[in-house]
């Protein structure tokens, strides 16, 4: 596509997503006027004039969409910085009026959520790592090692992905009633204080294995079989191949599994409500829920709390973004 002035070119390059739309518009216009092939320069100038209103329209639509999507976030953030009275006096979207700006909700939320954030991290991080690691190991066993009946086992894992949380609540409580973890862990001084969290951690790990297995399996199927066979011929054992070849090559998929699994586990309220009985073991989703007062709704406090609670998942996402992209795009080895 020829361009008449370099400035327009560089402008287009900067504009990213809008670029294509604009180009299409321009092309369409040009086809309209292309009856006369000779009058190229004049024709292009006319097309440019024609195209400008289209481009303005496009950006208006884009800005509208951005506003639409970001409005809830903006509302939440603004609300978190408003005093209670400022909140009632102004529209939720509007910035706080003079004197209505405060960071108190954040401090209060922090004070009330800090222990729960720590508790959540305490069970969510091990649960995430454990289900990703076990999922990876299982997937390796289901793809690159041959044994009888692995299709049936794979089918079970696949079914496991689709079991809803609600369906297992009763059996789950029965199970943990049957296994007396409190007594089992009683001899261990500090650990004994976190029985509920350990139950929750084990539950989430188990629940996360099927989806992690499915994720890793499709990734491992793309591996070059020759490479793993070469490692076996080089003298590596089945586990040696996993540890030295498969595991190091799994980084991108681990990023995907970490992000996905951590978000799931961290944000879960249902299992936590059922399994957490000791108040000191409260996790962030429960604590956040308790921020909504019973008499007065303190929206600024709730909003600040919600942002604090969401921060770790955002952090994990940022931490693994690069690897995540690689894992989703799927790389060939």
């Amino acid at each position: 596509m020829s361009r008449r002035d370099p400035a327009a070119g560089s402008r287009d390059a900067e504009e990213g997503p809008g670029d294509d739309g604009e180009r299409n518009g321009e092309r369409a216009v040009r086809t309209d006027g292309s009856g006369d092939v000779g009058a190229s320069r004049l024709g292009r100038f006319a097309a440019d004039l024609h195209a400008r209103p289209r481009r303005v329209g496009l950006y208006l639509v884009l800005i509208g969409l951005v506003g639409f999507y970001l409005a809830p976030l903006e509302t939440g953030l603004i609300t978190a910085f408003k005093t209670q009275s400022a909140f009632t006096e102004t529209s939720p979207f509007a910035p706080p009026p003079f004197g209505g700006l405060t960071v108190d909700p954040w401090l209060t939320a922090w004070n009330r959520l800090a222990y729960a954030l720590a508790n959540s991290a305490l069970f969510a991080i091990p649960a995430t790592i454990a289900s990703a690691t076990l999922g990876s190991l299982t997937a390796y066993g289901l793809t690159h090692i041959r044994w009888r009946g692995q299709v049936a086992v794979m089918a079970l894992f696949l079914a496991g992905v689709f079991i809803p949380y609600q369906a297992v609540l009763v059996p789950l409580t029965q199970l943990w009633g049957f296994i007396d973890l409190t007594n089992l862990l009683a001899p261990l001084p500090i650990v004994a204080n976190y029985v509920d969290l350990i139950e929750l951690m084990i539950t989430h790990t188990a629940y996360g294995i099927p989806i992690c297995t499915v994720l890793f399996r499709s990734y491992y199927q793309s591996f070059n079989e020759d490479m793993l066979e070469a490692a076996r011929l080089d003298g590596a054992s089945v586990f040696g191949v996993y540890r030295r070849i498969v595991l190091p090559l799994s980084k991108p998929m681990f990023a995907v599994a970490f992000i996905f699994q951590f978000t799931q586990v961290w944000n879960d309220l249902l299992f936590a409500l059922v399994l957490i009985t000791t108040p000191s073991n409260g996790v962030v989703t429960i604590a956040l829920n308790q921020l909504s007062g019973s008499f007065v709704q303190q929206y600024n406090l709730q909003m600040a709390g919600a942002f604090l609670a969401a921060l770790p998942t955002l952090l994990v996402y940022i931490l693994f973004t690069e690897q995540f992209a690689e894992g989703v795009a799927g790389r060939t080895t």
């Binding site: 070059n224 040696g240 080895t333």
Partner: protein, 427 residues
Amino acid sequence: MTRVTLDSLTKHFDDDGNTVVAVDDVSIDIADGEFIVLVGPSGCGKSTTLRMVAGLETITGGEIRLDDTVVNDRQAKDRDIAMVFQSYALYPHMSVRRNMSFGLEESTDLDDGEIGERVESTATMMGIAELLDRKPGELSGGQQQRVALGRAIVRDPAVFLMDEPLSNLDAKLRAQMRTELQRLQEDLGVTTVYVTHDQTEAMTMGDRIAVLNDGRLQQVGTPLECYHEPANLFVAGFIGEPSMNVFEMEVEGEELVGEEFTYPISSETREALGDVREVTLGIRPEDVEVLTRTEGDRTESDRRGGDRSSDRDQGGRHDFRTVVDVVEPVGDGNNVYLAFDEAATGTESVGGAAGEESAVADDDRVAMDLEDSDTFVATVSGLRRIEAGEEVYARLPEDAIHIFGAETGEALRSRKLDDEETVEPAA
């Protein structure tokens, strides 16, 4: 140093309840230090055989012995075998150095210093010393190939297995690596089993070649044995480029009668055929002599040049009139595609069986002609000028012909090698 013995090796695959026989009763004795090439078309079972030797496939029947130890149930990692894969199979996350040391770390008790030394010296020998700290992804195909070889060599295994290691290289590099591999193998003296579908590789590299087809071993022998004394029609057609010319013939008295021509044979040859009636006549393109004149056409002035009547094929018994269909110059030679001149062959075979055949047979013959475009190939000197459409005589010397039983495909008579042929200078 190790002998490898394949004893009635058989492999069945289960394909949705059907049993597919991939390798059928293959027995080969591979001597210590020998370079043996398994060659055959794709799907002939050569790779499966190799993978069974490696321990990557289970063995359905038969035995594999390294020296005198049966290794059927020994795991791949315990067989002391190194393999080079077609895809190179390098570990993408490791540097070349780590790629090469991996096998030594996993399979030996050498300390890091010794491993490092061996890697360095092998890399130097392979000319990849400057690549040691790069990752496979940063290497060209040829360099990756070298690393893959180096990775196998550094382990100093009992046996090398190579599964079409050169087929991903461009033609020039492949020819170069072919020579280099041969030299390396000779220097190292390690028993090597090499799989390829490329008959040129097989011919040029192997001490012996084993030709496989449909999972069955067709012939094991030196490249020249397989070339000059093919055990059957398949080997005859597979080895050699361009392929051997073959003609379906029927034995009638001391003649082979075909669709296009009748070929008189000596009583010695006749004896070799026994009571087989349907045969296939084969002749290599380079053995077909292309003459502009035949003995019968000779004038006195021709005879002056020398006493050519000493030629074994006196009187042009084995000369047939043909028309040049296509000429393919390949530089050092020309591949000349010849078609039988229908009218001429009729008059040429005086008193031949053709005249006595019924009209029904004649109809059949026409139908056959339409099915296969009946040309055959002769290779002549590249400097000789020959044009399409030219009428020439094709001489098929009896010494050079192969005869196979049509039903079994087994060779009944192979060309004679011991007595030197007299070369008929083309006019």
